[in-house]
Amino acid sequence: MLIELKNITKEYDNSGVVTKVLRGVSLSVKEGEFLSIMGPSGSGKSTLMHIIGFLDRATDGTYLFDGENIKDFSDDELAYIRNERIGFVFQSFNLLARTSVLDNVILPLTYSKKKNHQELATKALEAVGLGNRLNFLSNQISGGQKQRVAIARALVCDPKVIFADEPTGNLDSKSGTTVMSILGKLNEEGRTIILVTHDRTVAEHANRIITIKDGEIISDEHNPNPRRSKIIEDPTDDIA
């Protein structure tokens, strides 16, 4: 089992007012799965993803990643896992402004021990179809392209798991489809994908969909026929 959560809780203490965001979540994810976490806003799905993605720590419960209890990990060890073993794609892309596409993808490599930064970043950008945009500044490309740069950045350290938090939330449907098809392709290549979304059509790209409400998992369904979109050529790709 790649990810094993046992009775995970998360509470926020706002000057004495305790808010329970997760009320005992247990979940197992196998390597190579494409998992969607669905739920309305405020359901705790993002908090859950942050905990699984090592961005936040649970208040209580056990989290085993690749068999290891992450409670014992130091901040530096968590940083190492975030760098080498997982990748993130955010709703608002979070690219460095006024920085080239290539340098954005190189950024995670600067915190790793890997060498040949240029080469690895170029390869990752080619994998998302942006091999011809290396030296564009992050503010000179379209939203769909930005999200593909973000996927390349998540991919560049060759992680086991990619976390995507509403990756199509800020995109038009065409760009969204392209992004989803890239994620689908990455899953077919063997990478575990964990996707957070409130959109059923987006969630249906996964082969397993869990629904979370008020901090608890209310359903965990197998999706035998995951939606597969064809890569739609982004018309802006041709504008040099």
Partner: protein, 421 residues
């Protein structure tokens, strides 16, 4: 390491006008430090040239009240315990330093030349003009040692000195005061009860030599026998063959004087011997104290500048909170973020320091040019220790004032930082 620098450079080039304003305090502070050092060096070169005007490679012999005598006096009256050396000198004239001492000193190894000198004060009169002025008596060797230039006329000779000739050379200002536009050469001026023939006029010396410009110069024997009625000297100047051996020559001269004055106890020395280097040292102590004071003032500006850098770094951390969150999400460790911000702060202050060094040097160059235009022998130089110190100070300010904002940034929780954007 390289990536820390790249991130830091990206940070400081992001908002250039703010970077400039942030580093302004450091620029001013470092500029001041460089100016203080550079003009200090210039001033030193000027003083050096002034001191050399009285002769290069020289040793000065002054008469002093022996230490043992002073101690005895102090025993009687506690108030006298702190009695200043000069006051003591004036109160008790030392009569032991004679022309014979100078003759004996001339025979010491490494001594090229020497002259003895004494001062008097008299009213000097020419027609209706009169002036109370210092009279400097010296033997003719003075003209070989002293760098003062006689503009008109000639120096007096050793024969004139031995024959108590009543001849005088006027300082430039004194000549103007007494004679105005008319030619003083060959005229008679009255000094006390005697008439002296003006045989020369000095060029103006200016600077430290401006005292000389107002004096009258006559043979030492004439001064002693006819005006002062004494047979002792106030001080002596010894010119050396090799200035590097000044210390050992000083000891030889000390031996001569102790023998001539029958002194067996160093506490009873009634003279003090100072090499030019020792005279420079006295000046250097004063200069160092002034430099220290000015640097202290510049340091205040640097601290204020540092606080400015710290403030801006706090602002920058807040501004880039989302970026910090992102970097942490992508695997940056706390220390990666710490170094990025710390290096950015150091680059900021270092940049200010470098601009400060350049502008401070340019200003000191201006000061040097200005001084040279006014005829001062002022050399322009930026001492290397000033540059090294400035660079170390600006780096240190970057570290000291950058470390708190950088620590703040590094400790941010990644998800809170991401959410704040």
């Amino acid at each position: 390491m390289k990536s820390y620098f790249l991130q830091a450079i990206r940070g400081i080039t992001h908002n250039k006008s703010r970077t400039f304003l942030t580093t302004l305090g450091i620029m001013i502070g470092i500029g001041t430090v460089i100016m203080v050092f550079s003009t200090g060096e210039g001033f030193k070169s000027y003083i050096n040239s002034q001191i050399e005007m009285f002769g290069t490679n020289t040793i000065t012999i002054e008469t002093v009240v022996p230490a043992s005598t002073k101690t005895r006096d102090a025993g009687d009256k506690a108030d006298n315990a702190n009695m200043d050396n000069n006051v003591a000198n004036r109160a008790i004239p030392i009569k032991t330093f004679k022309n014979k001492d100078i003759q004996d000193i001339k025979n010491v190894a490494n001594v090229k030349n020497a002259y003895g000198s004494a001062f008097g004060q008299e009213v000097v009169t020419y027609k209706d003009n009169s002036k109370t002025t210092l009279i400097l008596g010296a033997d003719a060797s003075r003209f070989e040692i002293d760098k003062g230039v006689i503009e008109f006329g000639r120096p007096y000779t050793n024969e004139e000195n031995s024959s108590l000739a009543q001849v005088a050379i006027l300082g430039h200002t004194l000549a103007e005061d007494l004679f105005g536009d008319s030619d003083p050469l060959g005229e008679l001026v009255r000094v006390g009860n005697y008439n002296f023939e003006v045989i020369g006029v000095y060029e103006p010396r200016g600077g430290l030599g401006s005292f000389d410009d107002e004096q009258i110069f006559i043979p030492i024997t004439t001064l002693q026998k006819k005006i002062l009625g004494t047979d002792y000297l106030g001080y002596g100047i010894v010119e050396l063959i090799d200035g590097d051996k000044a210390d050992s020559t000083s000891l030889d001269i000390q031996d001569v004087l102790r023998r001539n004055h029958d002194i067996d106890d160093p506490l009873k020395d009634d003279f003090s011997i100072k090499t030019q280097e020792q005279n420079m040292e006295t000046f250097n102590v004063i200069l160092s104290a002034t430099t220290f004071l000015l640097i202290a003032i510049a340091l205040i500006s640097l601290v204020v500048g540092g606080v400015g850098v710290m403030n801006i770094m706090y602002v920058v951390v807040t501004e880039r909170i989302g970026e910090i969150g992102l970097k942490k999400a992508l695997g940056a460790r706390n220390k990666d973020i710490l170094y990025e911000f710390l290096i950015e702060a150091i680059l900021l202050t270092l940049l200010g320091g470098i601009v400060g060094i350049i502008s401070g040097s340019m200003l000191s160059f201006g000061v040097a040019k200005l001084a040279q235009n006014f005829g001062f022998a002022w050399k322009f130089s930026v001492p290397i220790y000033g540059i090294i110190l400035s660079i170390s100070i600006s780096t240190m300010i970057g570290i000291v004032f950058g470390v708190f904002p950088a620590k703040n940034a590094s400790k941010l929780n990644p998800i809170e930082a991401l959410n704040k954007e």
